[in-house]
Symmetry: C2
Subunit: 319 residues, 2 copies
């Protein structure tokens, strides 16, 4: 039997990264095309399909590719369609059945999912969720993305759009305005953007409190600034992480009441804040968790390389 | 091929009801034993197993029973064990592997689950969730129970205890004290008990507001009293349902963000309040639902007979 490989495709806002990988998650070869430079779904699919065919030929892997996995914004796993992705010009106003289009060009089976689900599946194939049938993956980036695995299956819902935990409302009165048009969504607090908002709010509401963050005046404060300030022992920065960790820990208790996962896996920039975030998060969980679930769910930080995780996750869908 | 039947066992706080049923959900014969009158798991399992064998013999169904399904408090579907059920004397302090014990006595395969999961599976086999792969069943009784089906599977979690949506915290500050020891849990608001609590709170905090509920002085007010008052057009009773429906509708929006179900199915006494509860619930959902899910999830009232639903649900597990 020949060794088998898969192709992973991560469709990002700027670039689409394509890679070939083996069952151990070793990326053999990779290339990219610009996501934005196509005006129609047809022209994009054609460029992507030809690039995949080239990659396979150059790697000498013809006949050994098991399939293509795609992680994309607004990807519907039930249908293989990208459904109106706000930030992709060729999919902004119309739905693009990219999985079927790529199968036509490459002759390979193709599985497509949103990027958060792909990330979760990547953790199950190659990361710290190996062997787990019940876990939730939370990506703390600009927003908060999530992929849920229950009973060994991705939870995709009847319409393919399950797992929007960033839009669970954690503050029901006077919550922060969210990009979705509502208020109090988890991602307005527990995300890189949320941390920066908390920093601005606290700096403004406490003019008397000293903080190294006040030295940043020429540009907006970022979550990285807060992290560096926390490393220097800045009390306000520590308080910002404390506030963020508590809100996330509290929300996680509700997620556990839903699917009772073996682990919550955190990924993305903010997950690197380590104990600044994890300590208050775990303390709040310990306090708020329903007795049934006490001490049963691990909080883990993804060990996958940030640059490779998206493409590994996409590829994992194809096995 | 012979027609097949199953045995459904509903372990209630007072009685254990046992019934034989066919694939259409017609209950052929039923009997019961008292749940409380046994001091050990062994003596209970022995009585139950013998009763099941009797029922099969009397119905002339030997060789035609596909299996036994059990719905029980604290039932763990992963293991077939009743794990410390507070209200069952023979399972209060020790775990009882009832599924295995019954298989030994009856020679039949046996599936055991908590009552809320059994109810959900009953809706899928016999009720309004027929043909659905993604739905959430919410039982509005003394508390709030829930059974979640995602991708055609019951969500049971890594430990068998998923689906405690009654203990999602909907009021994070100054919430009502819950039986679980925490505050603000959904079931302290959206349940028969919750409605009665809301009635008491409003009657006390608004001494000037007239209501027919004030005529009830010799005993505690129940949710049924509030329902009857609402039927008479009592403004305070209508406000109580409005408050309850809004809280439940708001919580349901978060549940949808988790598993994007095709329908939410309401069951139990409070579900019979009909539009008094459903109207504010749906209005709040319409207002609060994330745009992705707008208009996609039906709110349905279970059409199963209250007296038969538990046993049908239990039996459904056995198919």
């Amino acid at each position: 039997m020949k060794t088998q490989y898969v192709i992973g495709v991560d469709i990002g806002g700027t670039n689409t990264v394509i890679g070939s990988m083996d069952a151990h998650g070793t990326i053999l070869r990779r290339t990219k095309i610009p996501t934005q430079e196509y005006s129609t779904g047809d022209s994009y699919a054609s460029a992507l399909g030809n690039t995949i065919n080239d990659l396979i030929a150059k790697s000498g892997l013809q006949g050994q590719i098991q399939g293509i996995g795609i992680g994309t914004p607004s990807g519907n796993m039930n249908t293989g369609v990208i459904e109106k992705a706000a930030n992709i010009p060729w999919a902004k106003t119309e739905s693009v059945p990219l999985a079927a289009m790529l199968t036509k060009i490459t002759g390979l089976p193709c599985k497509l999912s949103n990027d958060a689900n792909a990330a979760a599946w990547g953790e199950k194939e190659y990361g710290c969720a190996k062997g787990m049938n019940d876990f939730i993956m939370i990506t703390l980036g600009t927003g908060l993305g999530s992929g849920i695995v229950a009973g060994g299956q991705l939870v995709v819902g009847h319409d393919g759009f399950a797992g929007e935990l960033g839009h669970v409302r954690v503050v029901r009165h006077n919550g922060r305005l969210c990009g979705c048009g509502r208020t109090g969504c988890l991602e307005t607090y527990a995300s890189a953007t949320g941390v920066a908002r908390t920093a601005c709010e606290l700096l403004e509401s406490r003019p008397e409190t000293q903080s190294v963050l006040r030295e940043i005046t020429s540009r907006p404060i970022t979550s990285k600034d807060v992290f560096h300030a926390a490393q220097r022992g800045d009390a306000l920065a520590l308080e910002i992480f404390d506030f963020t960790g508590k809100i996330l820990g509290d929300a996680i208790c509700d997620f556990i009441a839903f699917s009772s996962p073996q682990a919550i896996i955190l990924f993305g920039g903010l997950a690197h804040a380590g104990d600044f975030l994890l300590k208050p998060l775990k303390e709040e969980m310990e306090k708020q968790i329903l007795f049934l679930y006490k001490g049963k769910t691990d909080i883990l930080i993804s060990q996958l390389n940030d640059a490779e995780a998206a493409i590994l996750g996409a590829g994992a869908l194809a096995w």
